[in-house]
């Protein structure tokens, strides 16, 4: 099983993002989607969406505390996004494994991947990560102000990282650029994301507790292929909507978008 962990939050493009993401995941065998809302309670939009998605899923939620949340006008790099949500999914995975108490299916072949709701994923990516022993890695396109970032591989081993910024970070790898075996996560019950980590060190805060650079498993043809893209979706302008709302003829709020 591939457990895909996705933080998500309410905004105009949310349903569109979840729609195309679910269409990707529907092509992937043995995928279990853990969708974690950044919300005080599950929303009807996401609940109904998941129920009709055709996917195997778990629907969780946890609200990012106000002081950890990016405010309107804050620069994007100020605070990491989706941290509490990914940790909540890790908590659920451990709790579920503990409840099964060795009686459930062995997690030997289970893999965990962190997939933000706005990125673009090729289907091949999931076949690459499916056979992760501990931590596997690959290039990520359109990230960090670069065409791509990637681990540099020599003789089958990761020796350094191609990145435009602070290559000396413990693991200069985007969230979309690695997968972890569930077994390894269960063997290290305290490994989680540190929301207070310095900017750019969020991925490192998890991986440091799990693996060394020598232990990384390079995928995607020794990290020579881009199979995932850190795309971002424009925030839609609502100027005309606001004008119509003032005239009392805005778009029907009962129609879900």
């Amino acid at each position: 099983t591939i457990y895909v962990i996705t933080p998500t939050y309410a905004r105009l493009v949310q349903k569109a993002e979840l729609t195309r993401l679910s269409q990707t995941f529907l092509h992937v065998p043995q995928l279990h989607w853990i969708l974690v809302e950044d919300a005080p309670s599950p929303t009807p939009l996401v609940r109904d969406f998941l129920a009709s998605s055709g996917l195997t899923y778990t629907h969780l939620h946890v609200l990012t505390p106000k002081d950890k949340k990016l405010q309107e006008g804050d620069p994007g790099w100020l605070k990491p996004r989706g941290v509490e949500q990914r940790n909540e999914a890790l908590r659920w995975l451990r709790e579920t494994a503990a409840a099964a108490g060795g009686k459930g299916p062995p997690p030997e072949n289970a893999v965990v991947y962190f997939a933000d709701d706005d990125n673009t994923y090729s289907l091949q990516l999931f076949e690459e990560m499916r056979y992760t022993q501990r931590v596997s890695v690959w290039p990520v396109g359109l990230v960090g102000g670069m065409r791509f970032e990637r681990p540099v591989v020599q003789d089958g081993k990761v020796v350094r990282f191609h990145t435009g910024w602070r290559p000396g970070r413990p693991f200069p790898i985007d969230m979309a650029g690695f997968a972890v075996s569930l077994k390894l996560l269960l063997a290290n019950p305290k490994a989680r994301f540190d929301g207070d980590a310095q900017m750019g060190f969020l991925e490192s805060s998890l991986l440091q507790n799990l693996v060394t650079i020598e232990g990384l498993e390079p995928k995607a043809d020794m990290c020579t292929k881009v199979l995932v893209w850190h795309t971002r979706t424009e925030k839609p302008k609502m100027k005309r909507e606001e004008a119509l709302v003032k005239q009392g003829i805005g778009s029907d709020p009962n129609v879900e978008v």
Copy 2:
């Protein structure tokens, strides 16, 4: 058959867009993708992408003449995009039908849809348009500065349009908001998009020659459901890449992104 016509052009996010679009289309039975590159000749990236896509497709190309092309810095509304490409696909459809000379499969049930490469399409949308007799219509989300635009239906007929701008246009409908039966397009051999039409009148320039408002077939539960979203993808920043390129250590140009 649903013929889906998509204009596309080379840019950093192109392969990502085509990737998620193809994953949508792979779920749709009897879909034939007509992908038209805005390029002087077919590009290897698109050719290879299509060949391994698993889809039924036709790969065309036509370069938008320089004087019709939006220049860097021009406001987005100045010139319509993808016009020559959509017309080239219409030309191909007519030529192909003529070559079959009535001997091919009858186009009775064939439908034509114009799907830009950056929008988001639900799978239900294709089931709605599949049974188009002449021209079918439905709401489009996140378009025109609005939550959604849509035809307003009374007693099963379109009577006006909910839009934030010039509702008096002949057909104030986004490109993503209608489908046309192939039969109707073949019966009107001169119907095409007019790239010189006033801003916002591109869709009208085609539809005016095909149908009246009374003849529109409302879909998506009498135009009460949003099944397609006019999403747009951010242009990725390349600041770090440019800095690295100056130092001679940019991302390997041989790696396709």
